[in-house]
């Protein structure tokens, strides 16, 4: 393998101000190999791959592609050398169509040098189908769900016909069935000799697809191993540097009084948007101290339910009741919801959660400012203190509080959004994929924290696409399908397959089985 | 105009006879196309026309403001043509760009009175205006002979670069002071016709020149701005301020002379009254008017300011 390596990176180093993102990293990839890259948030995985894909150009060390030393001046150079990357943050152009996004920078031309829209549409449709989604290639990407956007980026990367394909958390917004489809594609690519770097925080995926796994910690290689031979616990210990005990520590604390009751919630927006699934009849309850999961397929309406409860749903007529602590409420705006003690951690942290070029401090405290002073004047010491405490509590990996939040690794950005909401001391916390892109150690932290908060009487409504998370963390899971609640399970006496079956509907399960 | 004659001279009789003169029994719509109303002088011109027309029961006057844009003024005149007005009064923003559209109106049989700035050729009924070169010359002579007979230093605050009156008031002044070679123009700056710009430019001129005897500004607002600047550093007594325009309004130059801020100013007639008189001659009296009527300028100084103000603006 050593001789035939498709990619060989040696002595790679990269420093961002005070942060050593990569240090003396040795990394190789053979053709037809799936090489998983693991590590905590901020370990340097994305940085290493950005170096390989030509996005980061000032680094130390050497890169060889098929035995030849290269130095890319930009992503275009890397693409020319056959290296494609699916970026962790979905970098798409909202106003352009799916097809235009897929072929951006390499548009297909007619003999007259004009854009060949028809051929692009056709090929885009084929590519999308290959990665497992049936999307109109002419739809603007800005209209798509996060999960769909992720599939578009996958299709785009596949379309490059690369020798080396880097996937940086390609599945963080996908549900089980889309992940399965993606793995099928990966296997196919592997057969045709493509080398794949696969980055994910979902441990169960690593064992399924990877041939080899490398663990990074603090920018340095810790170990390389065969993922089929190690247990998850061992991998996690390598990543985090210490054993992590019970991943899911559902405390099964006694739950208290009813905190939230949603009765037959229906939202008819004034102006319906294609692709949105507003509540069409949802009833559920959350008790204080209880963690209730929301399960469903892509587009089941989980996000829309949480948005409605948080007062950010589009205008329209709402019927049904939302009762918080025995009092009916009509959430008008996030501000109003927050005042009632409802907090939301949104799904798309970069677009909806953070001001990327503002400091960690400013981002953490923005929702709870009145707590740090009086008469509209901020006591700087108090806000710093609150911010530092929250960072400690969430084990945030950062340089200084004044650093831009955008320079944090993806998982750490997520923690900042989480911390911001916790600082408002909510009674009810709405979480939309709160651990998307969060490393396993930090996840454990977050779960522990959730358990702790629940113990203090907080109620949590948690929408997630990760079934193990739902089963492990929640007391109860409500399954949504097409904007309605279709089933409810106690996690103590049901498993992932029950949830999946309910989410897909019986007929769908039947079809799966037939295959 | 610069004396070029148009090859496309229209035949006069056709223009005049295409319309029957209805005389005193008619009702007449007059369109007034103003270059811009941001200059106090031009606003005053409109006001004068309005006031004079109010005395003629047959007249109704419409106003358009081109906001200093030649192209907009062309459109304004085109719109008047569309409306089939009975007479056009125009105070062109610039000569050449308005020539064609004025000719178009004239050829359609609409009598045209051109105020203040000429258009080229002779496709108009009558021109009424002042002479900026002459005004500049008068100002120059006044400085050379009355204010600084023994010589001295002058600074000049010019109007907006590129504007015709700016060039003419400058050239005239230069010619006027030639008579006295001991007079030196030691500095000049562009005040863009604006009071605040005149003030700011004068701040610097005062700094740069320890001794200034006369400030010659191309209009009264800039002269007033210069006065304020000099007053701020306590040097307003050291020099004399001379402006142009002499509008008979409270914020105008005549009042400034009367109140002692300016030493002198020179009237630049708005021609509003004269224009309506000419229109009356053409439409109501079915007569003809002079092709060109140049109104003389008049020196306003402490001696006559109050009297002329009362005469020109009896109610204010």
């Amino acid at each position: 393998m050593a001789e035939s390596a498709l990619v060989r990176m040696s002595g790679i180093g990269k420093r961002y101000g005070g942060v050593q993102a990569c240090h003396e990293v040795e990394f190789s990839l053979g053709s037809g190999e799936v090489h998983a890259l693991l590590g905590e948030n901020g370990a340097g995985k994305s940085t290493l791959m950005k170096i390989l894909s030509g996005d980061v150009t000032d680094y130390d060390g050497r890169i060889e592609i098929a035995g030849e030393t290269v130095h890319f001046g930009g992503p275009t150079d890397a693409q020319a050398a056959g290296i494609a990357m699916i970026h962790q943050e979905l970098d798409l152009v909202p106003a352009l169509s799916v097809a235009d996004n897929i072929f951006l920078g390499r548009e297909l031309r007619t003999p007259y040098r004009t854009v060949d829209r028809r051929r692009m549409d056709r090929e885009a449709r084929a590519l999308l189908e290959r990665s497992g989604v049936n999307l109109d290639p002419r739809r603007p990407v800005g209209e798509l769900r996060v999960g769909e956007q992720q599939l578009v980026t996958i299709a785009k990367a596949i379309s490059l016909d690369a020798r080396v394909l880097i996937m940086d958390e390609p599945t963080s917004a996908l549900t089980t069935s889309e992940v399965e489809r993606l793995f099928a594609v990966i296997r196919e690519l592997r057969r045709s000799g493509v080398g794949i770097v696969y980055i994910s925080h979902r441990m169960e995926e690593i064992a399924q697809v990877a041939d080899r796994a490398t663990v990074l910690r603090n920018g340095q290689i810790v170990t390389t191993f065969d993922p089929r031979k190690l247990t998850t616990a061992e991998v996690v210990e390598a990543m985090v540097g210490r054993p992590v005990q019970t991943m899911f520590s559902t405390p099964d604390a006694p739950t208290g009084d009813e905190l939230l009751r949603v009765e037959d919630l229906v939202l008819k927006p004034r102006r319906p948007r294609p692709g949105r699934r507003d509540p069409e009849g949802i009833s559920l309850t959350v008790r204080s101290g209880e963690i209730v999961g929301l399960c469903g397929l892509l587009g089941a309406g989980r996000t829309e339910l949480l948005e409605t409860l948080y007062g950010v749903a589009p205008g329209g007529t709402r019927t049904g009741r939302i009762v918080l602590q025995g009092k009916e409420i009509r959430p008008r705006s996030p501000r109003h919801a927050l005042a009632q003690g409802i907090g939301l951690v949104p799904e798309d942290r970069r677009a909806s959660g953070l001001v990327l070029f503002h400091s960690i401090l400013a981002n953490t405290v923005v929702s709870s400012l009145p707590a740090y002073g009086r008469l509209g004047v901020i006591a700087r010491r108090m806000e710093r203190l609150a911010s530092v405490r929250m960072a400690d509590r969430l084990r945030l990996k950062f340089g200084r509080l004044q650093d831009d939040v955008g320079t944090l690794s993806g998982g750490n950005q997520q923690k900042v959004v989480f911390g911001k909401m916790l600082l408002t001391e909510p009674k009810l916390l709405l979480l939309d994929e709160p651990t998307r892109g969060v490393d396993i150690g930090a996840k454990a932290e977050i779960y522990r924290l959730l358990g702790e908060l629940a113990g203090q009487g907080l109620g949590v409504l948690l929408a997630s696409s990760e079934l193990p998370e739902l089963i492990g963390v929640c007391d109860r899971v409500v399954v949504l399908r097409d904007g309605r609640d279709v089933a409810s399970f106690r996690t103590s006496d049901s498993g992932e397959s029950d949830l999946l079956a309910a989410a897909m509907g019986e007929s769908a399960v039947f079809e799966e089985v037939r295959k | 105009g610069c004396g070029t004659t148009s090859e496309r001279t229209s035949d006069e009789p056709q223009a005049q006879s295409s319309k029957e003169c209805k005389g005193a029994d008619g009702k007449y719509v007059i369109g007034m196309s103003q270059a811009n109303v941001a200059e106090p002088y031009r606003q005053r011109m409109d006001d004068d026309i309005k006031a004079a027309a109010a005395e003629v029961p047959q007249f109704e006057v419409k106003f358009a403001d081109a906001a200093q844009d030649n192209a907009k003024q062309v459109a304004d005149v085109e719109n008047y043509i569309t409306q089939q007005i009975d007479l056009l009064i125009i105070s062109p923003n610039e000569a050449k760009p308005l020539t064609a559209v004025v000719k178009k109106a004239y050829d359609k049989g609409i009598p045209v009175l051109v105020l203040d700035r000429k258009v080229e050729g002779d496709a108009y009924t009558g021109f009424i205006g002042g002479d900026n070169v002459q005004i500049g010359t008068e100002a120059g002579k006044y400085v050379a002979e009355k204010v600084l007979p023994n010589g001295g230093s002058v600074v000049e605050l010019k109007g907006l670069a590129g504007a015709t009156p700016q060039a003419e008031r400058h050239d005239g002044f230069a010619a006027g002071i030639k008579a006295n070679p001991k007079i030196k123009v030691i500095g000049s700056a562009s005040g863009d016709w604006l009071r605040e710009k005149g003030q700011a430019q004068m701040d610097a001129l005062l700094k740069a020149h320890p001794k200034i005897d006369v400030v010659y500004a191309h209009n009264d607002p800039m002269a007033e701005g210069a006065y304020l600047a000099a007053k701020a550093v306590g040097r307003e007594k050291e020099m004399k301020f001379i402006g142009i325009d002499a509008l008979p309004i409270p914020s105008g130059g005549i009042k400034a002379v009367e109140q002692g801020r300016l030493t002198a100013t020179f009237t630049y007639p708005t021609n509003g009254k004269e224009a309506i008189a000419a229109a009356k001659k053409i439409l109501v009296d079915c007569g003809t008017v002079e092709k060109s009527q140049v109104l003389p300028t008049r020196l306003i100084d402490k001696a006559n300011a109050a009297q002329i103000y009362a005469q020109e603006n009896p109610n204010g």
Binding site: L96, V115 | F63, E78, A161, G162
Partner: protein, 341 residues
Amino acid sequence: MTAVQDKPATPVERASGGVAATLFRFQSVFGLLAVFVAAIIFSPRRDGEILFLSADNLANVVRAVSEIGIIAVGMTFVILIGGIDLSVGAVLGLAAVGSAVLMVESDWGFLPSIVVVLAIGLVFGALQGMATAMIGIQSFIVTLAGLQIARGLARIWSDGQGVAIAYGDGPNEAPSSFALLGERTFGGLVPIPVLIFAVVAIAAVVFLRISAFSRHLYAVGGNEKAARLSGVPVIRVKIAVFAICGLLASLAGVVHAVQLNQGSPNDGIGYELDAIAAVVIGGTSLAGGRGSVAGTVAGALLLGVLNNVLALNNIDSNIQLLIKGLVIVAAAALQRLRPAS
């Protein structure tokens, strides 16, 4: 600021279905239609004839907006990449002066003069593009400086005076071929400037539809990082867009000179704001990435019709300012009615 809610036309929006969608696809035209109908209703009549609708008057309306329209097409490109160009009015002045000086004072021929003048606009725009794309200065500042520089150059070139254009074969006369640009065609009905505007607009619409470059332009404005990662030559796109805008501004300057028989260094003062207004009323977002040339044309015409009907009714110029302000806001508010998609 309204980037989140904003949803003007996107290049690929046309494929989606539904009656409402079809209607709203032409939303930028709604405001224009409304103003047009209002113009007919409020138009003065003579002998039963609606003056506003007379062929002559309609030709005047379009002629009057043709220069702003040409500029606004270029401005649309600049705004689509998230920039702004404040220099267009001054470049128009510079080009008008250039045409006049070259043809009249230097006695150059028609073609060489036009080519040089257009090249000046192109290069001026490209230089501004370089300053913003390569040094990274905000385009507002670069082009504000560009405005002053172009204005200063025009004043120096023309000695601060308007240069009158007379036609003929003699010395100090412009070739009569130039005069043709200002004439009317199709039976004296359609002014050539209108034709030029139409050609520019149609070319731009088609170009945006079929070229790969247009995809790159939307990408740079919509998500610059994504564009860069996809291998879009971001810097080249920016420079090209500013160059196109400069070129069109100088084309408008040529048209201006021939329409007014003069090139004056003070021509085009404030045109940048009118052009930007046309673009934004046409539904293009100042945040970049969304908008269309068709919308811009509708916006320019809306402003033209509005000016015309106010003038035809001889509304007092101060009241006109008020009405115009309110109509502009109303037209922009109309844009906000959208079936969300």
